[in-house]
């Protein structure tokens, strides 16, 4: 009961804050998630758990997906670290800041989100079942191929670029996060 009151209080506070920021407009959109959706999402969502200063979070915010990762999901998010973003050509990451490229950025980010909660063990079992290779569906519509290299899981994207899972299984109330070391790119449709 107090938990709900606390959440409601926080939500109200957040609303008031936004109102102050934006000026004097009366109607408030609030957040993307309804009260019920927030409750279903739980308290420690992926959105709150991610480093808000990271490049991944900045990209997610730009595509509006930070609000999505605060929803019930559940989602499995492959989060490339900042160094991974630094590896990308500057022209690509610069273009993502532009509104015209938002759809493209959304496609790249949803390529890093898998439906449901997939733990490293689950990927491992699927790789074993598949005799060394497993295909993983992503929210963006494309697929990733998972294999093992030494003790770690390696994900290969449509272009053949490989990313290693450096830190698996960070659990949240609405899913799980696996940290990877390279940004994966969906194929050109």
């Amino acid at each position: 009961m107090t938990r709900t009151a606390l959440m409601l209080g926080m939500a109200a506070a957040a609303l008031t804050l936004t109102a102050c920021d934006q000026g004097n407009k009366a109607s408030q959109p609030g957040s993307a998630q309804s009260g019920e959706a927030k409750k279903a999402a739980g308290e420690k969502t992926i959105a709150t758990g991610l480093d808000q200063n990271s490049r991944f979070f900045a990209a997610a915010k730009s595509a509006g997906l930070d609000a999505t990762l605060a929803g019930p999901g559940p989602y499995t998010v492959l989060v490339p670290d900042d160094a991974a973003f630094a590896k990308l050509p500057k022209a690509t990451t610069d273009s993502w800041a532009k509104p015209e490229s938002r759809a493209q950025l959304t496609g790249v980010l949803t390529y890093h989100i898998l439906p449901g909660t997939v733990l490293a063990d689950d990927i491992g079992k699927a790789i074993d079942n598949g005799k060394g290779k497993a295909v993983l569906a992503t929210m963006g519509g494309g697929t990733l191929t998972a294999t093992r290299d030494g003790g770690k899981i390696v994900l290969t994207d449509a272009a053949g670029t490989k990313a290693t899972v450096t830190q698996p299984d960070e659990k949240f109330s609405n899913g799980v996060v696996h940290r990877i070391d390279t940004v994966l790119m969906p194929g050109k449709a």
Partner: protein, 395 residues
């Protein structure tokens, strides 16, 4: 077992309801981005590897018809398109066999919905004759021409004509929804206004339009000429069964959208986005998404309020500003390639993905696997890889 039937039955109802529901009455004109009346379809999902209880919104000349929005003046009158409606058909396909699936998905003439069947709730749509044929110019401009003050302007000229001009009166009050102010942030030099699918960046000192940002469908809207350079850009092979060229409708692909083109005029008459490549945060949902169409299992979480609507389009449930149809947030991601009872588990679901809270109850054994998708947990037969039942709704 009964629960399965119930859930499946409900799912089927929900999907057919989505497919067959009448379009809502015209929304307000207001900010020049009003939803007009006219031939509006429901948002229907394109399912790959579908069948079972899914409605396959495919076929020649299929997809949604967009109500074009008039420019200038007060309330938007829409220009409805060709009289032939679109086909939605619950294709109950038992085999995975693609060839047979294609046949099942093909339009059955009897299933074609005529525009006269999609009556606007408020009354007869004057742009359609009593046999459903498009009468053309009843009110507003002929298809493809944008209303501009007294006359009609040829497509493609809108953009050129407005840059460097004073922001039109109709858009001066087209405020960006609050939730998007961060995205289209006013600066000391510029401010943003919204109208009819474009975001206008206006110079503060002289109120001249500095640039336009198209917010709909990759920049090309129904009624515009499709660039001839894209006419060789065919739909990707895996979509081709769903978007085949016919003698009176071509499909081409650009920027994440499939475009339906009239072969005789070269004009776009339909825009169908593919997954998250089509719509996004800050963009506009077309008028054909005017009705609430959130998938059944998510309705208790995402319901319309006066401040925000929720609409489903391939890939996501979007939060939408009711007045402007601008997408203010992505509330939830959904997979387009869903699981269907009776169908094989699609590619990419080999890994166990049941949410943590349900793992004690539903775990893989040699006799049964469990997979999660879009709010439901399904049971799968490991030997045949067929999805045998829908076990549980968890949202």
């Amino acid at each position: 077992m009964t629960r399965f039937f119930l859930a499946a039955g409900v799912a089927a109802l929900a999907i057919t309801a989505q497919a067959g529901a009448k379009p809502g009455g015209g929304g307000g004109g207001g900010h020049g981005a009003g939803n007009g009346d006219g031939n509006k379809g429901q948002a229907v999902r394109v399912e790959r590897g579908g069948g079972g209880f899914k409605a396959a919104a495919v076929g020649h000349g299929g997809g949604q018809r967009f109500a074009m929005q008039a420019h200038g003046g007060g309330g938007g009158k829409s220009h409805a398109w060709k009289a032939e409606g679109h086909t939605v058909r619950a294709a109950k396909v038992d085999h995975v066999n693609r060839h047979e699936q294609r046949i099942a998905n093909r339009i059955d003439r009897r299933d074609v919905v005529r525009s006269r069947d999609l009556r606007v709730e408020n009354g007869f749509n004057p742009q359609f004759g009593k046999h459903g044929q498009y009468r053309g110019l009843a009110e507003g401009c002929p298809p493809g021409l944008w209303k501009k003050n007294n006359g009609c302007m040829p497509p493609g000229q809108l953009k050129n004509s407005l840059v460097g001009r004073l922001i039109p009166t109709a858009y001066r009050n087209g405020l960006v929804p609050l939730a998007l102010r961060g995205l289209y942030a006013d600066t000391p030099d510029y401010y943003y206004r919204y109208g009819d699918g474009y975001m206008y960046r206006v110079n503060r000192t002289n109120n001249l339009v500095d640039s336009l940002l198209p917010l709909l469908g990759g920049g090309y809207m129904p009624g515009q000429m499709f660039p001839s350079s894209y006419m060789n850009s065919y739909v990707p092979s895996y979509y081709q069964p769903f978007y085949p060229d016919t003698s009176d409708n071509y499909y081409r692909y650009a920027n994440g959208n499939v475009y339906g083109i009239d072969p005789y005029t070269g004009m776009i008459d339909n825009v169908i986005p593919m997954y998250a490549n089509g719509y996004g945060y800050g963009q506009m949902l077309p008028a054909s998404y005017s009705a609430y169409n959130v998938p059944y299992q998510y309705r208790s979480l995402y319901y319309d309020t006066p401040d925000s609507y929720y609409r489903y389009a391939p890939g996501a449930i979007y939060q939408v500003d009711p007045g402007t149809s601008l997408i203010t947030a992505v509330a939830s991601l959904l997979t387009g390639n869903g699981l269907s009872v009776g169908q094989r588990l699609p590619m990419g679901y080999g890994a166990y993905n049941v949410p943590l809270a349900y793992r004690d109850q539903y775990y893989d054994t040699p006799d049964a696997w469990y997979r999660y998708n879009n709010g439901y947990i399904y049971q799968v037969d490991p030997a045949t890889q067929v999805v045998t039942s829908l076990i549980r709704a968890i949202v």
